[in-house]
């Protein structure tokens, strides 16, 4: 897999833009999924995931081919997601009461909205609920939980992606699990 990717990367480096298409095709779903779980809504996730690929293309000459490409790509994407989450934080209190009054488009509003009333949560379908619970996690824990339990990556790789020491990753995974347990309670 890495050989194929490095071959394509070399073609991109030589100026063959089309070789990048195969790289996008290979990673599109995983990258989009990470963004979607991080940000919560489809529109933003599509934008950020695309942006991540564009940045990867522009900076491809900085990628060290001895390392794992997916790690590098995920790092670009998670950094963009975290930036986006931090930027929109101030205004998410403003619309926090909107989802409670309007259940129509809840799925798209979940992650941006924070808390929902208990009855609302209990009426959710399972997939909806999973998405909601991930979105409720503080951003610090959300990224490690997504990478650990949705992407099923080893702790070391998560550390490489988020540029955190292994110990910090472990602590965040532990706290993330605790947070989830408290959020979900006894189902």
């Amino acid at each position: 897999m890495d050989d194929v990717i490095n071959k394509r990367i070399n073609e991109v480096l030589k100026g063959d833009q089309n070789a990048f298409e195969e790289i996008v095709t290979l990673f599109q779903h995983r990258l989009y999924q990470v963004c979607y779980r991080m940000l919560g809504n489809a529109q933003e996730s599509e934008d950020i995931a695309q942006e991540a690929f564009v940045r990867a293309y522009i900076n491809i000459h900085t990628f060290d081919q001895k390392r794992k490409f997916s790690t590098w790509l995920f790092r670009i994407a998670t950094n963009l997601c975290i930036d986006r989450i931090r930027k929109k934080k101030p205004d998410y209190y403003l619309d926090a009461n909107v989802p409670g009054t309007d259940g129509l488009n809840m799925y798209s509003q979940i992650a941006a909205s924070g808390e929902l009333p208990e009855e609302e949560v209990e009426r959710m379908e399972m997939q909806e609920r999973i998405h909601y619970e991930i979105g409720r996690l503080p951003e610090k824990y959300r990224s490690v939980i997504i990478l650990r339990y949705i992407e099923e990556l080893p702790l070391q790789e998560i550390g490489d992606i988020l540029e955190l020491p292994l110990g910090t990753v472990k602590t965040r995974v532990h706290r993330g699990r605790e947070a989830l347990r408290k959020q979900i309670g006894n189902m």
């Binding site: 480096l13 030589k14 100026g15 833009q17 990048f20 298409e21 996008v24 095709t25 599109q28 779903h29 990258l31 989009y32 999924q33 979607y36 779980r37 489809a42 599509e46 995931a49 695309q50 942006e51 690929f53 564009v54 293309y57 522009i58 399972m126 997939q127 999973i130 998405h131 619970e133 991930i134 939980i145 339990y149 949705i150 099923e152 702790l155 472990k170 995974v173 532990h174 699990r177 605790e178 989830l180 347990r181 959020q183 979900i184 309670g185 006894n186 189902m187």
Partner: protein, 210 residues
């Protein structure tokens, strides 16, 4: 949890991370069997993980790849040139030299507004007009810049008028080439020819120059 040692919670997470020793695992299991509170915490943790892990994979939208490809910057040719130059430093140096050279050529074309003429003994100069008198023969080339050249007599050599005009009487004879230069590219071409001539003087030119 309040009464149980902190160590037990650590062991739970170590267990979930898969880095727990046999002895520690035995210690944890023994504790969980004797402590319903801790057992509930442990179950809560494993259930939460299983719950999150049962998320269905999310796929990127249909047109995702195409959208990315259209968003890529169209820097191809520029990037290519840069990469190519990085790999061929000698060419880069040569290109730089040419750019500087041509810059000096262009500037000399632009700045050189003054009237000038090649010194030849029989030429008559009146203001900005140079006259080759009738019946006279000029031996050698004539170059006139920013002025008018009238040829009534004979020139045994090349005649060049740069940004000016040239009138030839019916009696005029020019044995060499005769040209007028007005445009920058003509000028450049002329300069290049001159440079080549200076570097590789032919025997014919030598004779005329003397």
């Amino acid at each position: 949890m309040n009464t149980c040692p902190e160590q037990i919670v650590h062991l739970m997470h170590a267990y979930l991370d898969g880095d727990i020793s046999r002895d520690e695992e035995r210690e944890l299991k023994a504790h969980l069997e004797s402590c319903p509170e801790c057992k509930e915490i442990m179950n809560g943790l494993t259930e939460s993980i299983a719950f999150i892990g049962s998320a269905t994979p999310i796929k990127a939208p249909e047109n995702f790849v195409d959208s990315v490809m259209t968003r890529l910057p169209k820097e191809k040719s520029q990037a290519n040139a840069q990469r190519w130059l990085r790999r061929h430093p000698l060419f880069a140096a040569a290109a730089m030299f040419l750019i500087l050279m041509s810059a000096s050529l262009f500037s000399s074309y632009g700045n050189d507004q003054q009237f000038s003429v090649t010194k030849q003994p029989n030429l008559i100069v009146e203001g900005q007009t140079v006259l080759v008198p009738a019946g006279e023969t000029i031996k050698g080339d004539i170059v006139v810049k920013n002025g008018t050249l009238r040829i009534d007599g004979e020139v045994d050599g090349d005649v060049t008028v740069i940004r000016g005009s040239k009138y030839m009487a019916s009696t005029a004879i020019v044995t060499g080439t005769s040209e007028e230069i007005d445009e920058v590219f003509d000028w450049l071409w002329y300069k290049m020819k001159q440079t080549v001539k200076d570097i590789f003087p032919s025997s014919n030119d030598d004779k005329l120059d003397e």
